[in-house]
Symmetry: C2
């Protein structure tokens, strides 16, 4: 098994290899991954994958933010996932995409050609294993979100979204848990509304309300200061600390 040191050298800045799949790869497996790997860039607003399209790659987000959305014929739209750097995209064993994937900011993706990746997966148990783990995480996240969508008030929904982004930010940057936090909202009000099952007006109103009540502070439209994370999580109605302050 390779040491972390070597992996860093071999893998460059590709998060799928660092974090998601290759922490335990042998050199020849790394070699295979290297051969089937390529990068793709997308501009903000660009659709990366259309729902129903044939997908010939899997991969992970290197930088930027993308969303998974489902849209009804009449235009109603629900975001079903938020892709941040290191998140995996793709459905090994499936041919078609199930959702639209849209770049919210400029996005760099690290892609692997699908067939060879699937072959590698069958021959390398720990990759399948890791993928199962990641899928279970996504399933948990989706189910947590079902509670938000089905049972929370608009105010709680906003607080939940901010909590989740703050949490992701926190673990991503490996900062120590703090009570005061600053986050950069990567979403327009409309995108937030599509995530939360609200209208953009309601999102705007509730953000104003949280600000008035001192739960958050705003600097411009997108820069959110959270004076006390626990206060925010309280507003979100979560019973747990969401892994924040252990």
């Amino acid at each position: 098994m390779m040491a972390t040191q070597t992996i860093s050298q071999e893998c460059g800045d590709c998060p799928i290899r660092h974090r998601a799949v290759c922490a335990r790869c042998e050199p020849d497996e790394l070699q295979t991954l290297e051969e089937i790997k390529y990068y793709r860039n997308f501009q903000a607003g660009q659709t990366i994958i259309w729902s129903g399209d044939r997908m010939d790659f899997v991969g992970s987000v290197v930088s930027g933010i993308a969303t998974l959305t489902q849209t009804m014929e009449d235009g109603r739209c629900q975001m079903v996932g938020l892709l941040l750097p290191s998140d995996f995209v793709g459905r090994p064993g499936r041919d078609g995409a199930a959702y639209d994937v849209v770049a919210t900011t400029d996005v760099v993706m690290c892609c692997f050609r699908k067939r060879p990746f699937e072959d590698l997966m069958t021959s390398t148990p720990h990759i399948a294993h890791r993928l199962l783990e990641m899928t279970l995480d996504e399933l948990d996240a989706a189910r947590e979100w079902m509670l938000v969508l089905g049972r929370k008030t608009a105010r709680e929904k906003i607080a939940s979204l901010l909590s989740i982004i703050a949490r992701r930010d926190n673990t991503l940057n490996k900062r120590n848990a703090k009570t005061r936090m600053v986050i950069d909202l990567p979403l327009t009000r409309e995108a937030m509304a599509d995530y939360l099952g609200l209208t953009l007006e309601t999102v705007s109103r509730q953000i104003s309300a949280l600000k008035k009540d001192g739960v958050i502070e705003l600097e411009g439209k997108r820069h959110v200061i959270i004076p006390d994370i626990r206060r925010l999580m309280d507003e979100a109605g979560d019973d747990s600390d969401g892994g924040f302050l252990v």
Copy 2:
């Protein structure tokens, strides 16, 4: 590799072995599964697993219906999954349960002790593979449900739920697709409400409305006749046929 014939003999009536995991098991793997396997019975209303509890088994539903639910401190409750016969329960690699699992009817589960099952999983790639596939299916279902919860009206929600149950019934019994169908509602109005993010009164009202409009017919409270599945799916607002009438 064993022929299907042999598997049938070996596996008895345990769906995890038939459908979920063992379609490609070697005899010695079947032997291992047999050794770590046991059955458990639950009565209607009984909680099978409490959220947060340590889980020492994985398994699948043999008969009956169970629900996955999340509950907030103030009692608000959201169902995040519906377990029908052949559905898998458990999170390989995770120790704690993430949700309450409650038996809605009497339930028989086929369980496998968790550690040995996980060991078998690492040594048997196709089991991990199959599990990944099942988890991806669940993820798709969860995300489909997010659209229902976030963006559909009460009437559409009811129609969606009936469609899904009808669809499951259909594939489970391997019937040919028909337009006329009869389903046995396995849920109380309250459980339906918890699934749909509604109140039980609204569920009741919308069911009455669908009946008045001839989309469904009722025999007693729980027996639902669907004269025309496509009409129902139309009410659900789904663009696809949901794999019904291919």
